[in-house]
Subunit: 192 residues, 2 copies
DNA sequence: TTGATACTAAACAATGTGTTGATTTTTTGT
DNA sequence: ACAAAAAATCAACACATTGTTTAGTATCAA
């Protein structure tokens, strides 16, 4: 009963956050984050600078919130799916992810190119892990080695996605899902 | 004859650059680059701010020069080796690299954690590519797919190294060289 | 020693930062 | 429709950093 009352978000707040976020992303496409000032974000968004500070500590805080929203968004997007170790299911699921990335390619490009924040990176990796490496953790590998393999596969997948985004998301001979699954699953067999 | 005269670098310049660089790296270990001011670097180094501007445009320029020096350093470090597709040679070579990283773990940690700069990333990836993926390009794969695989393996390797650095460079059950080679080579076989 | 080069110190305008308090506008609940 | 609450605005503020200039000093290489 207590948490039932979800505070309705003020329309103004919604608008302010939306427009600040959008300005910021637009700027991020043109300039490195180090050159983007709070002032410039606010001017582009036509929002008072004082208002910015009411919502965010600084640019990086704004960036983090954008990241978090994306993570949540992806989780919602995938929530409907049930997981099986059936291979075609994995492919289907990964395809769904690439569909999502394609739809949100603009923001994904920006966010994946900034990997200074380890937390975001690891959350993305966690998603990949859950999708592609179920069988990995089940088998009785040496845990130490497993961690390294997971790092490799997860980071590699992100690199793959970045390349895909940078080159205009052209579908290669194999689908992205196929490539990822083949590379990860096959890589594992080296350690069985 | 023309280019023979290599200008001797002034000792003062050498000292200035060295101490600025060192201060910067020290600060990078403690604070995110966005919080590091030119002023703070200079104060720590006890160098006049005007002098900083004589050598670097800003913090990011300094960072780039540090990166470039590291790349050059690695190339020199590996220059003595000759390449074979003999497997044990590859292992030896990779071990050499991990030796280098271990010796320079402080700076490597800092530099590898900032991947906003694609150029540096790609130069590191190029080294990994040349070392581990000779046989890859030789085979008649579909070029489109090859590019993706290279991205995956190279980025994955960097992720692996980052993890290794973050966890104190403990030697896992398999050596790092073994893991990288197994994962990359094995991953390839999926596309033969 | 000498000429060249590099560093320092001080001052400068320009820009961005983060916070304040008073005021206006919009939303929400009744 | 109205009053209370919440949010955005505005102007002003002290402050820090930036990047550049100028003149003087110290160090270097030869």
């Amino acid at each position: 009963m207590e948490k039932q009352k979800k505070k309705k978000v003020d329309r103004r707040v919604q608008y302010t956050k939306m427009v600040l976020r959008q300005s910021f992303i637009d700027l991020l496409e043109k300039y490195p984050i180090s050159k983007i000032t709070i002032k410039s974000i606010c001017e582009k968004a036509d929002i008072n600078r004082t208002t910015f500070y009411a919502h965010y500590a600084d640019q990086y805080d704004l960036l983090n919130q954008i990241k978090q929203e994306l993570i949540d968004d992806v989780h919602v997007y995938l929530a409907n799916f049930t997981f099986h170790d059936n291979k075609s299911e994995s492919v289907q699921l990964l395809n769904k992810i690439f569909e999502y990335i394609k739809e949100n390619s603009k923001i994904c490009s920006v966010l994946l190119n900034d990997t200074t924040d380890a937390a975001f990176y690891e959350q993305i990796m966690a998603i990949v892990q859950n999708l592609c490496m179920e069988q990995l953790t089940k088998k009785a590998f040496n845990q130490n080695t497993v961690d390294y393999i997971i790092s490799f596969a997860a980071t590699g997948s992100i690199g793959l996605i970045r390349k895909w985004l940078d080159t205009g998301m052209k579908e290669p001979t194999y689908t992205m899902a196929e490539i990822i699954l083949k590379l990860t699953n096959q890589g594992l067999t080296a350690f069985v």
